[in-house]
């Protein structure tokens, strides 16, 4: 199982904050986006993390990973 999380305005745009998928062998972060969001192209400034570390969209996701998509951060 792979966990997928969304934050900030992206969570509202997609209308979801959390989902899981089971069969995503050798998928990249970008492949997963296309699989679960077929109707939405990923915005250029969307950031991606796997297991709470920033990764590029070409990162391969493994079973048990937590993938996150979110807009540019605005803390501080």
């Amino acid at each position: 199982m792979i966990t997928i999380r969304y934050f900030g305005s992206l969570k509202e745009t997609l209308g979801k904050s959390f989902e899981t998928i089971d069969n995503a062998e050798n998928f990249t972060v970008l492949d997963i986006w296309h699989l679960v969001n077929p109707d939405f192209s990923i915005a250029e400034n969307t950031l991606t993390a796997v297991n709470m570390d920033y990764v590029s969209r070409s990162e391969i996701v493994k079973k048990g990973d937590e993938v996150a998509f979110f807009p540019p951060v605005t803390g501080g």
């Binding site: 999380r5 570390d53 951060v73």
Partner: protein
């Protein structure tokens, strides 16, 4: 080094005092550089009455600890305290505190600035502000405050 995420208001000065009192480096630090980010009542030309700070629980702490480790690898830091608010925040309330203790001032200044800049660009927080008109909006531009 200590990282705290608070969902309630905090007093940055009593936090620093308590931390400094409990830490075992009295007499060793010559320099303390502190930054406090405070909520303003205006942004992008509009009057703001409240803000909600969302974050990615877990990743926030991991990234903040990474940032501090990076700072420690570049400057000789004796101690570091980082506090960041989440949840509902109102004007004039502190949002973030970074405090660096070091033997010398250049190290303290540079490490404090580094931690703040990295926090701004890498810590997974998102601000949503409520204007005095009751309109709400996500803060999208990278804030300079």
């Amino acid at each position: 080094m200590t990282v705290k995420i608070y969902d309630h208001i905090f007093d940055p000065f009593s936090e620093i005092q308590q931390f400094q009192h409990s830490a075992h480096f009295a007499g060793k630090f010559g320099a303390t550089s502190i930054f406090i980010g405070t909520m303003r009542d205006f942004n992008e030309g509009d009057d703001v009455k409240a803000m909600t700070l969302e974050h990615y629980e877990g990743m926030t702490q991991k990234q903040l600890r990474n940032i501090i480790e990076m700072a420690k690898s570049q400057w000789h830091i004796l101690e570091c305290l980082v506090i960041h608010r989440v949840g509902a925040i109102f004007p004039n309330e502190p949002i973030v505190l970074v405090s660096i203790w070091s033997a010398h001032r250049a190290e303290a200044f540079e490490a404090c600035r580094y931690v703040m800049e990295e926090l701004k660009t890498h810590a997974p927080f998102w601000k949503r502000e409520t204007l005095t008109t009751n309109e709400t909006r996500w803060v999208t531009t990278h804030s300079a405050n």
